[in-house]
Amino acid sequence: EHSTDGLGDALAIAQHHDAVSGTERLHVANDYALRLSIGYKEAEKVVASSLAVLTTLGNNSVYSCPLLNVSYCPPSEANFTGVKSLIIVVYNPLGWTREEVVRIPVSTENVVVLDSTGSEIESQLLPASNFSSLVKNYHVKAYLGESAVNSGGYWLAFSALVPPLGFSTYIVSNKKGRESRSVLSSIYTSEDF
């Protein structure tokens, strides 16, 4: 019922020399962006259903976060406390193993990160700067017409090891009942120096 055709069309149109070089008019740039966005949303559903099958998440909803770069990601910022845990599927589209630090916005510091075997892995919490909150609100307002769910909060960073052309699964869980939790970063301002 879903396809990647819309994204294919949008990408094809964006091959025009004006799109490539940025010499299109503003209303045309906006049209390129709109078509890419429509294509992305459609393709996102294909990817979500594919990942749900691969990871045996079954009927659970799978989300991507296109505004993750401005720390807007409702699934990870939600209060996944109590019995629910946040599942993160990390897919590697390249043909070699990669180990990289993954960063997601969270609203609480009481979290731990577990790998797919249930073992806790090292993670770090970085406070969101005032400026990044400003940027987040700017984009969320501009593109979604609404205010950001949480300004401030934290970035949760952990190291993901992902096989070639494959995926790894990580779980972010409430720290309740656990001895350790994610390490809060140390902060020094220019005055400290």
């Binding site: 010499t23 770069n69 960073a157």
Partner: protein
């Protein structure tokens, strides 16, 4: 200690001055590479004009009319965040320019994440914002830029291999498109700067690399587009200039050891890890 402080828990260590938070040195403990590395920001004011008089800077034409440094005296307010996986240095240069520098424990490159905009144009001038990385490398007017992500091509300042170049625009005349990155080298080291998007760039002085991060211009350059490169986002009738956020990555290697990283890591920039999220009951996810 002394006048500087270190950032980075792994092989890569960046040195910053304590009094103004400026980057001064790049050191890789693993391969004993250590080089001066300074970063600065500036903007070029765009020519206001027509196609006949004072050719304007616009979508097609890059024609700077003056160079204005941004906070040349240093960054008064900066913040350092340290942790087990990565360290960050936050610099707020002014109201519309912010940069986070990251050093990951397991990586040997520095990551710069810049946020630029909305660029103010109340003074009647369009602006083209650039950053420069200056090293001590003796590059003899030579630098290398990619060709649409493919081979790196040798560029020589104020020179073309196949015709006699008469330089009228010393900045724009030496600018090249950057899709993957740019690097410089001397007899012992090479410094590479990779990008996550298409930008313009150059090496206007020996040992230095320059990237253009954002452009906001007020005049049509009369080359066909028919409007100024003045992109805006409007929310309920309130229009502001575009805000851009991007990354570039710096690594300094011994001569001949940078090419592998440029190819491999360039591919990783182009094909980042994809994330998807779901939720599950604590007891059932295993």
């Amino acid at each position: 200690s002394g006048e500087t402080f270190e950032v980075g828990e792994g092989n890569l260590v960046l040195l910053y001055t304590k009094n103004d938070g400026k980057l001064t040195r790049y050191s890789n403990i693993r391969n004993s590479v250590s080089a001066a590395a300074e970063q600065s920001f500036k903007y070029y004011t765009g020519y206001n004009g027509t196609d006949r008089v004072f050719q304007a800077s616009g979508a097609y034409v890059f024609r700077p009319n003056g160079t204005i440094p941004i906070n040349p005296e240093g960054y008064i307010n900066f913040t350092v965040i340290r942790g087990p996986l990565l360290d960050e240095v936050h610099h707020q240069l002014n109201e519309w320019l912010y940069q986070v520098t990251r050093v990951y424990k397991g990586k040997e490159h520095a990551e710069f994440e810049y946020t630029v905009g909305p660029v103010p144009v109340d003074d009647g001038f369009g602006k083209e914002i650039v950053t420069q990385i200056s090293t001590g490398l003796n590059t003899n007017r030579t630098f290398y830029t990619d060709s649409n992500g493919r081979d790196f091509v040798k560029r020589i300042r104020d020179f073309r291999p196949d015709w006699e170049l008469d330089v009228h625009q010393p900045i724009a005349g030496n600018y090249y498109p950057i899709n993957l990155g740019v690097y410089i080298e001397d007899e012992s080291m090479e410094a590479s700067l990779l990008v996550d998007r298409a930008v313009g760039g150059s090496s206007l002085e020996d040992g230095q690399i320059e990237l253009m991060l954002h452009r906001r211009l007020l005049n049509d350059d009369s080359r066909g587009v028919g409007e100024a490169l003045n992109e805006e986002v409007c929310i309920l009738g309130d229009c502001k200039g575009l805000m851009v956020q991007g990354k570039c990555y710096l690594r300094i290697d011994k001569l001949g050891e940078g090419a592998l990283w440029r190819r491999r890591f360039g591919q990783e920039i182009y094909s980042p890890l994809l994330l998807a999220f779901s939720e599950e009951e604590e007891s059932s996810w295993l």
